[in-house]
């Protein structure tokens, strides 16, 4: 399967618009346990991605992913820039030698691995990995099932909720120690929003 330009564009557009619309929510979450800039940073990054939509839309998928990654790296302005940027850069690199849909989990897993390396972080530390890793596990285990999209969406939602009782040991929230407990992690939430936007768009195009 190759991804049609129109599908690619609608996926990128949906994801970007979702993040831009959710900026106030992400900022509110980040004000609780971080430095309050996650919403505006992600908004700036995805506005820049939207600005390149026509360029991205005609690129092969591996190049498109890298363009998204590079754009986020250069425009986000917080740690989430290199983190999300590394996800897309590594996924794009993996995509060069792989095929969809068979290797979807592989490609996604390459992105997740890059986030883990960049942040020197693992699941359980109240970060975006606490959503990305469960989503990866679901992708691996459930690929080929007719209700895969629904399962991924549910996995992401449940994974975000599980970050609330966690104590942060990475990132800015770790300075708060036990006071980070009780708040959902903003990075986990933005990862969930991205996953949901992709799922919803794919479902609507079925």
């Amino acid at each position: 399967m190759s991804v049609q330009p129109e599908t690619l564009k609608s996926l990128v557009k949906a994801a970007a618009e979702q993040l831009i619309a959710s900026a106030p929510e992400l900022t509110a979450l980040d004000q609780a346990i971080g430095d309050g800039d996650h919403g505006t940073n992600m908004k700036r990054g995805f506005e820049a991605v939207l600005g390149k939509l026509n360029e991205i839309g005609v690129q092969p998928l591996d190049e498109a992913l890298k363009t998204i990654g590079k754009t986020l790296v250069m425009t986000v302005g917080g740690a989430s820039g290199p983190l999300y940027g590394s996800f897309f850069l590594a996924a794009g690199e993996a995509m060069r030698s792989r095929q969809l849909p068979d290797d979807l989990a592989d490609v996604f897993g390459s992105g997740v691995g890059a986030v883990s390396a960049r942040g020197r972080s693992r699941p359980g530390e109240k970060t975006m990995l606490d959503v990305l890793v469960p989503v990866l596990e679901t992708l691996k285990a459930e690929v080929g099932r007719p209700d895969l999209i629904e399962r991924i969406r549910t996995t992401a939602s449940e994974a975000v909720a599980r970050t609330a009782p966690m104590q942060a040991t990475k990132g800015r929230a770790s300075f708060l120690g036990a006071r980070s407990v009780g708040h959902v992690d903003p990075g986990a939430r933005s990862s969930c929003l991205l996953v949901h936007a992709v799922c919803n768009t794919l479902e609507a195009r079925k």
């Binding site: 505006t40 700036r44 790296v73 250069m74 302005g77 917080g78 590394s86 960049r118 800015r172």
Partner: protein, 130 residues
């Protein structure tokens, strides 16, 4: 004059970055190249990979560049910037695990004596060893 290791200061705040660079210049003089940057791509508080790349370029020395950062995002963005350098420069830039002001002053002092990049980094990082 022989080359000395260059110093790059990366803060979320341009004021802090500039103030740190001013202190370094006053204490160490102008024999060490010092570049600084602060602020996100919109000019608000934060850091910017492209500004960090520019700063590395202007502090560049064949002996390498030591970067001093303030908070998490400055470190992550600096590491990202280092990876985006041309391969032959990548191994000549280090992000020091040290407090930004004291680390910059110590690193620049060490650099002024003609020390290697590893020596400069080690002196700055002694501050964190407690």
């Amino acid at each position: 004059m022989s080359d000395t290791v260059g110093i790059v200061i990366v803060s979320h705040s341009q004021d802090i970055a500039k103030g740190t660079a001013d202190m370094v210049r006053q204490m160490v003089g102008s024999e060490v190249k010092v570049a600084f940057c602060g602020g996100n791509p919109d000019g608000g508080l934060g850091t910017s990979v492209s500004l960090i790349l520019d700063a590395i370029g202007s502090a560049w020395s064949p002996k390498g560049v030591a970067i001093l950062v303030d908070l998490g995002g400055a470190e992550t963005n600096s590491e990202m910037a280092v990876e985006m350098l041309q391969p032959e420069r990548r191994n000549l830039v280090v992000v020091c695990n040290a407090p930004i002001v004291e680390g910059a002053v110590m690193a620049a002092t060490e650099a002024a004596g003609g020390s290697s990049l590893e020596q400069v980094r080690a002196v700055a990082e002694e501050l964190s060893a407690g």
